[in-house]
């Protein structure tokens, strides 16, 4: 069973991964966006760490809800509200039980990704974070590692796509051949989840 401590570990791992990979994320965003995805998420997840330490929420749902709220309050850009909504809605779906199992998390993440899709109006294949999030949430029913692998594969699969949402969509055909930064950071999120579960 996964308790609040597990979810705090996940968020800490995600923050470390984003910090480590910030330059690569910004580089990817530089090619098809505005070169801020790495610094946006680094700022956001650092704030998440701060607030989780300060407020020490005691349930899985509370950890994710608080983390999501904090991302919304500190990231800005497109990814702030989207990642914020992902974690907040996932957290809300988890309710207030002190621990949850992997299947419950998978179901909650599906609710979260649906909320992301509704908020941003994007679907699978639009070359966004959803191309990593959707398959990962699906594969989580199987295992943590499967989810991480699915997110990685989804991120990689954005390379040949034409962007239809977000800033990259202004590039039209020229967006083809580049990996989506948001899908790449989503893959980091699921790697951190798998590591937390080890």
């Amino acid at each position: 069973m996964l308790d609040a401590e597990f979810f705090r570990r996940w968020m800490a791992g995600a923050a470390a991964a984003v910090d480590r990979e910030a330059d690569r994320l910004t580089e990817l965003d530089s090619a098809i966006g505005d070169a801020d995805h790495g610094s946006n998420l680094r700022r956001g997840f650092a704030a998440v760490q701060d607030t989780l330490e300060k407020e020490a929420p005691q349930t899985p749902g509370a950890v994710l809800t608080l983390a999501g709220r904090q991302l919304i309050s500190t990231v800005g850009g497109a990814s702030g509200p989207l990642y914020g909504t992902l974690l907040r809605r996932t957290g809300k779906a988890l309710g207030d039980s002190p621990s949850v199992d992997r299947e419950q998390l998978a179901a909650a993440l599906k609710a979260g990704t649906e909320a992301v899709s509704r908020l941003g109006g994007a679907a699978a294949g639009d070359k966004t974070m959803l191309d990593a999030l959707l398959p990962a949430a699906d594969a989580l029913g199987e295992s943590f590692d499967a989810a991480a692998r699915a997110a990685d594969a989804g991120a990689l699969a954005t390379v040949p796509l034409l962007a239809r949402k977000g800033r990259a969509s202004y590039l039209g055909e020229r967006s083809i051949g580049h990996q989506d930064p948001g899908a790449t950071s989503s893959a980091l999120l699921f790697s951190a989840l798998a590591e937390a579960a080890e």
Partner: protein, 330 residues
């Protein structure tokens, strides 16, 4: 690229401190990143709140004051602000008559303002929103994020701000804003790339001797890249691009806007060519504004915005405005 900064991380906070020192008529909350006119809330008047990524100064902070914005929310450079800023701004400026959010059409701005509107309404503020999407360089398709918000923002903020200053109710202020959004179109040209502090260098490559036709205000790609053109040729291209989309049967107000690093001398010369094309195309010009109003950091280049105006909009344009960057009639 030499920049006049300390470190990239503090650029926005530093600018806000400098703005506070220069403009005692503004109340600048550096920590929470909200610029509010000092006399807000103004009793009996609708308030206007806008915001967006920094790097486009004087937009939006330079437009806070009587007859224009009640508050502005600056985000990080080229990154939309967070909802907390707009919620705080709305609470500070709402007199009970409601608040209009002026939002440029970028995914980040739209999402953050949407969230802010929900939160502000939860706190009892009546919120209306208007989306500015005037950049004709982008085809307005459901398969993209849609047309970008650029120079028309100045018109929306000025004209809806004037309506609010006259005491018009929220519905009317929103209607004016929507009318302006429907009546104003822009086209921008980059003669050089711009450099963000975080990147420390140009955010896109523009080979020497080339220009980008239809560039966005964050350096987003436009319609095409060509060998450098004359002021005359650029005016023909830009004005025709706008007129293809906006076929005015009334006079226009022309904004001939500098991207940041183009000398005012050149911008005035460009205005002469813009006026020539408009005359050739039979479009009467009621007013003209030339200057650096919606900039892209240190980009060299320009944009043309045309806003078709009826008598009422023209009257609102001429109405008093008293902000750091736009001031007349008071």
């Amino acid at each position: 690229m030499n920049m006049l900064i300390n470190v990239p991380e503090t650029v926005v906070a530093d600018a806000l401190r400098g703005m506070a020192a220069a403009h005692p008529e503004l109340s600048v909350d550096v920590e929470n990143r909200v610029i509010v006119r000092r006399d807000a809330p103004v009793a009996g008047k609708v308030a206007l709140v806008s915001g967006g990524g920094s790097g486009h100064e004087p937009l939006h902070g330079g437009f806070v004051g009587r007859g224009m914005l009640s508050a502005a929310c600056p985000g990080e450079v080229f990154t939309s602000p967070v909802p907390d800023q707009m919620v705080r701004a709305a609470a500070a400026v709402d007199s009970g008559e409601g608040v209009l959010f002026v939002v440029k059409n970028y995914t980040g701005d739209v999402l953050n303002f949407d969230m802010a509107a929900e939160l502000a309404e939860d706190e009892g503020v009546r919120v209306a929103k208007v989306l500015v999407n005037d950049d004709v360089a982008v085809s307005d398709s459901t398969f993209t994020a849609g047309r970008r918000g650029t120079g028309a923002t100045l018109f929306v903020e000025k004209l809806a701000g004037a309506a609010a200053d006259e005491g018009a109710p929220l519905e009317r202020v929103e209607a004016v804003a929507r009318q302006v959004c429907g009546s104003a179109r822009s086209f921008g040209v980059a003669l050089s790339a711009c450099s963000t502090p975080a990147k420390g260098g140009p955010t896109f490559d523009l080979p020497a001797g080339q220009l980008e036709l239809g560039v966005g205000i964050h350096g987003e790609p436009g319609r095409e890249r060509r060998a450098m053109m004359t002021s005359r040729e650029i005016a023909d291209y830009a004005v025709d691009a706008v007129l293809e989309d906006l076929r005015p049967d009334l006079p226009v107000i022309a904004l001939v806007n500098g991207a940041g690093a183009t000398p005012l001398l050149e911008l005035y010369g460009f205005n002469a060519e813009v006026q020539r094309v408009l005359t050739e195309r039979g479009v009467p010009v009621a007013r003209t504004l030339v200057g650096n109003y919606v900039t892209s950091l240190d980009m060299a280049g320009c944009s043309v915005t045309l806003c078709q105006v009826d008598e009422e909009l023209l009257r609102l344009w001429d109405a008093p405005v008293n902000t750091a960057a736009l001031r007349w009639g008071c």
